[in-house]
């Protein structure tokens, strides 16, 4: 079996579900053909068992352990062994077909969402994207597992048809034409059942959501009360699910009964007319047994056919959803066709809208009365759009127009995005931590040794994290850093940003969740660690502002003053007052007190 995942999952056509399904099928056509061949052999062998049984009943069984019987039994055992081999081999090929399609599609989706940036969250809710991997890709894979079985079933049907007609034309016609009618009627009856099952699934889904919701909020619930309300609510929904289940039981049990009744009656008709033919001597007793066996066997390929219809319908729906996800454009897809010459290291960055100039090799702080405004300037420096709420997809705002930032001689949007991302790193104030060993999650660009990791953790004052993650640097960070406090998360993210060693590092409110003691230490170590490198910090904390090389005060989207913190904060003019109003109300209080 070819190991998965493939080194390159490929890029499927996104023009329609049928094209997608065909494209994937062509990529595994060898396995598909192999599986089909094995399935045909296996199903035909299984179909012939009743025929062989009939021959044994006719020739030999009555004569004891003669040569004829042994030959007959050897034939039966031979058919059996072919079936055994075909079953296991066919199953392995089925699984390979399924896995190839399902895992490769999952891989395509898993790779694509790492290339889109937050366009994916703007376009679709997270749950829908995850569902394409958790369910749609798997369902798409089922198509490639069922098609060989469908072909095998058709082959068996044809072989048996020939055998039946050669034995007795009326009985053969009865079986060959009657059975599809029976199975067709049954698959029509499945529809109302599926509706009720869907209702039950929906009620169950709501129950699961309710349970998960209660548990996620359990700390709050236990803190302020309301447990009974929630237990009651869950019980009510649980009883609704039970009701839906009873509803399903009505239809399901009726269907089960009909699945006994229709084939049972059909079998009785076959037996009755067969026995009459046998009585007239038109067929032998063994052939009667064979007809009984055929009628029982042939329901299988017919069920496979109706199952195949269901699988294919589901796969088309799934493929459509997969296409929606894969069609979200990649970040950088709006790069110019021929990107501009990248600026040499040490060129200044200038945000034309605000007038902010980032001097290379220095740490610049951006501060303003409206923190959103300062943050937007910082995001522009990294060619990032404004953030959106994760859950507000649908009415999300469009990308901000690529605003004009000059970097040396080039404009930022004229460069290739990979060039920008490689050299300018923007770390937002509530960045996402990913699960994995702490050392790996810190060293996202690779190549940092233990000392470098410890040094970065020291700069971010995050040494305490090494104690709270069991195993320290080799310990696992839990999902979203859940086992860490808010302050710890922020400091780990800061260490991660520092370790990128970016030429230009833009930090947005990097110390908003840490205590003042820690903030004071970080302010000192951070500026030391970035000495000589270009750093931009959006902050309103006097502790940080005091430590940076230069402060830019922003008002109404424009830089109105630049200078050192200690100069701005003491300046006895409008700028000084505006600056003090922004930086700290306690500053204002103390200054007033001092004046008095």
């Amino acid at each position: 079996m070819r190991p998965l995942p493939l080194p390159d999952p490929g890029r499927p056509p996104l023009t329609g579900p049928a094209r997608l399904l065909l494209w994937q099928g062509r990529r595994q056509v060898g396995v598909l053909l192999g599986a089909t061949l094995v399935c045909v052999v296996g199903t035909v062998a299984a179909a012939l068992v009743p025929w062989q049984l009939g021959r044994i009943v006719d020739g030999g069984l009555a004569d004891g352990l003669g040569r004829t019987l042994w030959t007959g039994l050897a034939g039966l055992a031979g058919l059996g062994l072919v079936q055994v081999g075909a079953n296991v081999w066919g199953h392995r090929l089925d699984v390979e077909n399924w896995l190839r399609a399902a895992l490769t599609t999952s891989q395509q989706i898993g790779h694509h969402v790492t290339r889109t940036g937050d366009r994916i969250t703007r376009a679709l809710p997270t749950g829908e994207v995850v569902a394409t991997v958790a369910s749609d890709a798997l369902r798409m894979g089922e198509v490639y597992a069922i098609i060989p079985r469908l072909v095998g079933g058709i082959a068996a049907y044809l072989v048996l048809g020939a055998l039946l007609l050669s034995t007795s034309v009326p009985l053969g016609l009865l079986v060959l034409l009657g059975l599809p009618v029976v199975v067709g009627v049954l698959s029509l009856l499945v529809r109302p059942l599926q509706r009720r099952q869907a209702a039950q699934r929906e009620a169950t889904g709501r129950l699961t959501t309710l349970g998960a919701d209660t548990v996620s909020g359990l700390r709050i619930l236990r803190g302020i009360g309301g447990e009974d309300v929630f237990a009651d609510r869950y019980r009510a929904q649980s009883q609704r699910v039970r009701g839906a289940g009873v509803h399903v039981a009505q239809t399901q049990s009726l269907l089960d009964a009909l699945q006994t009744l229709l084939p049972g009656l059909f079998l009785a008709v076959v037996v009755w007319s067969g026995a009459r033919l046998a009585l007239d001597g038109a067929i032998s007793p063994g052939q009667l047994v064979a007809f009984y066996g055929f009628a029982a066997f042939l329901t299988q390929p017919l069920w496979t056919a109706s199952e195949a219809i269901r699988v294919i319908t589901r796969a088309v729906v799934g493929a459509r959803k997969i296409i929606t996800v894969l069609s979200v454009p990649e970040a950088g897809s709006d790069d110019p066709a021929s990107p501009a010459e990248p600026p040499a290291p040490g060129e200044p960055l200038e945000d034309l809208a605000s007038g902010l100039v980032v001097t290379p090799g220095r740490t610049t702080a951006v501060v303003g009365a409206d923190p959103d405004e300062s943050a937007r300037i910082a995001l522009r420096l990294g060619r990032l759009g404004a953030p959106v709420l994760p859950d507000a997809a649908g009415d999300a705002p469009a990308d901000e127009p690529l605003s004009a930032v000059r970097w040396g001689r080039a404009m930022l949007h004229e460069l290739a995005l990979t060039e920008v991302r490689g050299r300018v790193v923007v770390a937002e104030s509530t960045p996402h931590l990913f699960t994995g060993p702490l050392a790996d999650e810190l060293d996202v660009r690779g190549g940092a040794d233990r000392d470098a990791l410890h040094a970065a953790m020291a700069v971010a004052d995050a040494a305490d994290v090494l104690d709270s993650v069991p195993g320290g640097l080799d310990g696992e960070v839990e999902e979203k850093g859940r086992s860490l406090s808010g302050g710890q998360r922020q400091r780990v993210a800061l260490a991660r940003a520092l370790l990128t060693g970016a030429e230009v590092l833009v930090l947005i409110e990097p110390t908003s969740a840490v205590d003042a003691h820690t903030e004071a230490r970080i302010a000192r170590t951070l500026t030391d660690a970035r000495r000589g490198a270009t750093t931009v910090v959006v902050t309103a904390s006097p502790l940080v502002l005091d430590a940076v090389d230069e402060v830019a005060l922003v008002q109404d989207g424009r830089v109105i003053a630049t200078g050192r913190h200690r100069d701005l904060v003491t300046a006895d003019d409008d700028t000084g007052r505006a600056y003090r109003a922004v930086v700290s109300r306690t500053e204002e209080v103390t200054r007033e007190a001092a004046r008095r």
Partner: protein, 579 residues
């Protein structure tokens, strides 16, 4: 701290108790299935008789009569299956509804200290994945196991009744079937659990990539995330290959053990026919039984497999019952006006021998604002939880009006002290329900007052259905700041005299946090407040400041006194406002 998992004996005890509670329903279901399976055996038996008739000569009317009996048997089986299946499914739904309701009831009553420390991940997994898995087993497995077991045993009985001698041939498969099945079942459950864990990890990775898509883009993490997806897929593939390997042994083993009895019955039957000990019809009947039994045995093996997986989930669900209460209610109640909360020589250790608090004494003055500052890991949050009565202290006591907090019933405790943490959660349901958690009897006017107090009424009134708007997962999304305002409005309704705020706004985006300060001050009005803070202006504005360091209160007093005392706090304050 991990939540317990029920062990083998406990699991059997619980299951037996569950079955006993429903024994009448269960007996009825079993009886119906036995009858249905009996009717299902008529086909091969009657066909055998017809074969005998054809061999030895019979009449048209005899054939008609035999087929008429067959039709009656089919009709009887149809009716019996209808009621047997319905009864089994209804029973499964009822048993399972009992089970999950009991579980969630128990979860909502878990001790405060367990909930605070165990984290929600494990509990969420038990409520969703494990409950779903048991549900699948109960809903589909239990009825099918009843049917298949009844069919298999009755087929064997019918074969013996047809001809005990020929029926011996049916046993030919057992020497292969039993060891292969045993071999497989021993290995299957862990292998399938590994498989579902692999897919859960993959889904988790995709979730993270999507939720953190912005960070992935900004930090250039794409290649790493793709490597992670590939690693998850490799594990999923390895897990699939393992279960496929197991099935590659099981399938041929089982298939072969189905052919053996067929061949054996025919050979052995032919011998018996030749000695006159059996008829061709009897041999035919039993040969047909031998092929008819294949499907139910295969299905039974499948379900035995599923049952094992279901049992591990059931053990996790039932394990929650093994968490013991962390407190017992006493009879003493503080007086109506007793609002003074004090801590005496409070010690606490999460692990025995590792004290996080070393004998803290603290008397809160009613109505004061106390800011708690100190470095990370000093024990600020632990102290906060002690003061809110979340954990019983390992030494010393925290009292309100001389009654230990942990001796109070929860409803009373919440009326005295409440803890507000960084976490906020919007529950699925109408916004009004989210607020009524704190006070089930509050009318809409009271809800509006509470929302106005926290400055949230404007946006609530602008929601499509106001207070009745569905919020939470799947409903109208609220911003983190709005969610926090809802949490604060709940506090207004709860109306405790003392509040412990543990960095209540630090998880929010700092920009949102600034907007929240007005809402917060409305809630604090007229209450004793302990604010664990990282912003020094909170400390400056407080009546007193407590500096916690290494599990002790190292300094306490008004801001000005502490600055004058020139200790740790003073140096920090100077660095904060250095000019």
């Amino acid at each position: 701290m991990k939540l317990p998992v029920a062990d083998g004996p406990a699991l059997r005890r619980h299951t037996a108790a569950l079955l006993r509670r429903h024994r009448r329903g269960l007996a009825g279901v079993v009886a119906l299935h036995v009858l249905a399976a009996t009717a299902g055996l008529a086909g091969p038996w009657l066909l055998g008789r017809l074969v005998d008739g054809a061999v030895h000569g019979t009449t048209t009317s005899a054939v008609d009569r035999t087929v008429a009996v067959l039709v009656v048997a089919v009709l009887a089986q149809t009716v019996l299956i209808r009621y047997a299946q319905r009864a089994a499914m209804v029973l499964g739904e009822t048993v399972f509804a009992d089970l999950r309701e009991e579980f969630v009831g128990r979860v909502t009553r878990l001790p405060l200290s367990t909930v605070e420390r165990a984290g929600t991940g494990d509990l969420v997994a038990r409520t969703t994945t494990d409950v779903d898995r048991v549900q699948y087993t109960v809903r589909f497995g239990v009825p099918r196991i009843l049917v298949t077991t009844a069919t298999i045993s009755l087929t064997l009985v019918a074969a013996v009744l047809t001809s005990p001698l020929v029926a011996i041939g049916l046993l030919a498969g057992l020497p292969l079937l039993l060891p292969v099945t045993r071999w497989y079942l021993r290995r299957a459950a862990p292998a399938y659990l590994r498989e579902s864990a692999a897919y859960a990890t993959l889904n988790g990775t995709i979730t993270e990539s999507v939720e953190g898509a912005r960070t992935v883009d900004a930090l250039g993490l794409g290649a790493r995330r793709r490597a992670r997806v590939d690693a998850d897929l490799r594990e999923a593939f390895a897990a699939e290959r393992r279960t496929l390997g197991l099935r590659s042994v099981l399938f041929p083993g089982v298939d072969t053990s189905f052919i053996l009895p067929l061949v054996a019955v025919l050979a052995w039957g032919a011998y018996l026919v030749s000695t006159g000990d059996a008829t061709v019809g009897a041999v035919t009947t039993i040969a047909l039984y031998a092929s008819q039994i294949i499907q139910p045995i295969g299905e039974l093996i499948f379900w035995l497999d599923e049952i094992q997986v279901g049992a591990t989930s059931l053990a996790r669900i039932l394990g929650v019952a093994d968490v013991h209460a962390d407190r017992t209610e006493g009879d003493a109640r503080p007086g109506a006006d007793d609002t003074d909360v004090r801590a005496d020589a409070v010690r606490y250790a999460y692990r025995p021998g590792h004290d996080v608090l070393h004998g803290v004494d603290l008397a809160l003055r009613p109505g004061e604002r106390l800011a708690v500052v100190g470095p990370s890991g000093a024990g600020k949050s632990t102290l906060g939880r002690m003061l809110a009565g979340i954990h019983p202290p390992t030494g010393g006591s925290v009292t309100v009006g001389d009654v230990p907090l942990v001796d109070l019933p929860l409803d009373d405790l919440r009326g005295h002290v409440a803890l507000v943490t960084q976490e906020h959660h919007v529950f699925v349901g109408p916004l009004a329900d989210n607020l009524r958690l704190a006070d089930p009897d509050a009318d809409d006017a009271a809800l509006e007052r509470a929302l106005r107090a926290v400055d949230a009424w404007d946006w609530v009134a602008a929601l499509p259905h106001g207070l009745a708007t569905e919020v939470g997962s799947g409903g109208t999304p609220l911003t983190p700041a709005q969610a926090q305002q809802v949490a604060l409005a709940r506090l207004v309704l709860l109306d405790p005299h003392t509040l412990v705020l543990d960095e209540a706004t630090s998880l929010l985006d700092p920009r949102a946090a600034r907007h929240l300060e007005r809402s917060l001050s409305a809630v604090l009005q007229g209450r004793t407040v302990v604010a664990i803070a990282h912003r020094l202006h909170t400390a400056h504005d407080a009546d007193r400041v407590a500096v916690v360091d290494a599990g002790r209160i190292s300094e306490i007093g008004p801001h000005d006194d502490l600055v004058a005392a020139d200790g740790e706090y003073a140096s920090l304050w100077r660095s904060w406002q250095r000019e």
